[in-house]
Amino acid sequence: MSVAASQSEKPATRRGVPSPTLPPWFEKLLVPVILVVAALLPFAVDSGGVFMQNCIQALAYTVMALGLNIVVGFAGLLDLGYVAFFAIGAYTAGWFGSGFFSRVGNGEGIHILTSGFAAKAPGIHVNFLLILVIAVILTAIAGVIIGLPTLRLRGDYIAIVTLAFGEIIGRIAVNGDAIKFDGQQLTAGKQGISPVDKIDLPGIEPFGLLELRPWYWFVLALVALVLFVNFRLRDSRLGRAWIALREDEIAAVAMGVPSVKTKLLAYATGAAFGGMSGAFLGSFLNTVNADQFQFYFSILILGMIILGGLGSIWGVVIGAITLSFINNYFIPEVINDVPSKLGFEFDMTQITFAIYGFLLVMMMILRPQGLLPERRHKMELAEQADTSDETLYTARA
């Protein structure tokens, strides 16, 4: 523990795992600087290009990763079904912002605070800001429902229950075209709900698909909001309760932490961010397709927070952006050309899964604490590494 004491005074002489540490003032200064740089970025690149599109996706994934970080990183509840919230958020955008329910209002549609084309088309059309709110509410409720059966469970069992929920939601999405209420399908299955209304903010024109800058700034604002909420939550009473539960549930409960409420709040908050980002992606990708909601996606988001460092907010941001670019840009665009340049007839996209799996294994074996580990997690890992022989099995005692 003396390591921890000396750490706050003299970071330079700290022993243990060598990794960069951020002093508190640095973090406070960093936020505005990074946000300003990020906000100016679109002026330097092609506003309708692939790079811009990747940036927007990366930021949307960052929002999700920060949400999952609350559940897994802060509260220590391993959630393998996060894709469920992406699905619910995206379907909210699909249901309340497209011509999918084409028969409502006698074929005239229902319109709330919409303008332009969307204000006349059939189907339900609600302003995107309201859709965001609905998505947050729906996913928070879903988060609580998923959380309820896991309250008595720990560790791997939570992982399995959440995975099962993710798969059930995925199944409903795929087969939803067969569920009909009065002739109206629940989802459009693999065909997808498309087109989805563009974001329509009061005072400015609806966003277009050729000019990507407004999308970028919108999602950047979402990231900023989520970052702010994350920092405030982490340093709040609730955040400390989450960490206490993660470290030792019995001790935390004995100290008066209400375990049920605290856990459910973690699920609900994490889910709400996923729904937010899901609604955004539904509108941005212009389709809500059942194929998007697979187990792979949950692992992608989980991989982001593990790559960055569980519980570490900056780590998660870095992990999310890195993995998102690896997934959307590096594997399909960069590595893809390598075999053909070397004279092989081989499609690299075929082994995307294997590359990704390999990365997961390597990451865990080489640096299980992540790129920018949270201090508390790091100490744990470093201590265990020092005394690995004695504690070889105590983790399960």
Binding site: A164, F165, N175, Q350, F353, L360, V361, L381, T391
Partner: protein, 351 residues
């Protein structure tokens, strides 16, 4: 004063809770067949359809039981959900298919050739899957044994992705039909209107002896004793001179071998294989293991049979595309009512 203020009996809420946790799961399990039995009786006047479902369910469940034992053995000894186990099962199917293609087994082969050929395939599939599983343990789990529990779970998912990709490259991304060697749909006997097919016989005929050998091995042999000791307390086992690493490797080997056998039966029974069968199959088998009480061999078999029946009923009446959702819904219900499973004891994680 203190003594008198305590209530005489247990409060009603606690008694209700105890009742729910004791019988809730059993009620949930009986609900589906009971509902279909009533609907069958009222519409057809006989239980033949339900009987058919259950017969097919038991042979199907035998396959899941074999896979589930792999989960249960591994969980019992290292407390890890071996996510890659489903993929080991898938590789077992693929190896079987490749092997009986190589030795030239075809549908027209005579009964003796078929018998010996399939026995040989069984051995090859078991060795291949067993070795693969032990190898996975060596590469992906052993280096992380002192790390937090999340780490090996993630590597397990990573390995499972890699193996899925191997399967994808091997036989392509769609269902791959294979020769129907045992004429699986052929009706063998009819009991009370319920047909028993070749595939059903094969599944039971392979599974039962394997299970008997396995339980005898674990309860009688020295290595089996070492496995049980390691599962109970690895540190004490080490002090008693048991080589814990070898024992863990052996556990993975055994689990993998059973998954390989299940892979062969699955391939012959379904006559189609594909790279994704390991993911869904693995989750179904895991549900079976949890239902029986993870860490408990008999529980895994019981769970496998029950899940097989649920799966068949759902395939037959609700629709194949909904089956995974139904099985997962059962998984969640088990977790709500009795996380420790039908035959299992309470563990630290499933309180």
């Amino acid at each position: 004063m203190e003594a008198t203020s305590l209530p005489a009996g247990t409060p009603t809420s606690q008694r209700v809770r105890k009742l729910v946790s004791d019988y809730g799961l059993i009620l949930v399990l009986i609900a589906l067949p009971a509902y279909y039995a009533i609907s069958d009786l009222s519409s057809d006047g006989s239980l033949t359809r339900l009987g058919e479902n259950l017969a097919a369910g038991i042979s199907n469940g035998a396959i899941w039981a074999l896979v589930a034992i792999g989960y249960t053995l591994v969980y019992g000894i290292v407390e890890l959900i071996n996510f890659a186990h489903g993929e080991v099962f898938m590789i077992g199917s693929f190896v079987s298919f490749a092997f009986f293609g190589t030795i030239g087994l075809t549908q027209g082969a005579s009964a003796t050739t078929l018998l010996f050929g399939l026995l040989l395939t069984l051995v090859v599939a078991m060795i291949a899957s067993g070795t693969l599983n032990a190898l996975i343990e060596r590469v992906a789990y052993r280096p992380l044994r002192s790390a937090p529990k999340l780490a090996p779970l993630i590597t397990a998912v990573g390995i499972s992705f890699i193996l899925q990709n191997v399967g994808l490259l091997w036989l392509g991304g769609s269902q791959h039909g294979i020769p129907d060697l045992i004429n699986t749909q052929h009706t063998l006997v009819t009991v009370f209107g319920v047909t028993i097919e070749n595939g059903d016989l094969l599944a039971v005929a392979v599974t039962v002896p394997l299970l008997m050998v396995m339980t005898t091995f674990i309860s009688r042999s020295r290595l089996g004793k070492a496995m049980r000791a390691t599962a109970q307390d690895p540190e004490a086992a080490r002090l008693m001179g048991i080589n814990v690493d070898t024992t863990i490797s052996l556990t993975f080997l055994l689990g993998g071998m059973l998954a390989g056998a299940a892979g062969l039966i699955y391939a012959l029974y379904q006559t189609t294989i594909w790279y994704f069968q390991g993911f869904t199959g693995g989750l179904i088998a895991f549900t079976a293991a949890v239902m029986g009480g993870i860490g408990n061999l008999r529980g895994a078999v019981l769970g496998g049979l029950i899940i097989g029946c649920i799966q068949q009923m759902s395939d037959n009446r609700i629709g194949t595309q909904w089956t995974p959702a139904v099985v997962f819904a059962y998984l969640v219900l088990i977790m709500v009512f009795k996380p420790s499973g039908l035959l299992g004891e309470q563990t630290r994680d499933a309180g």
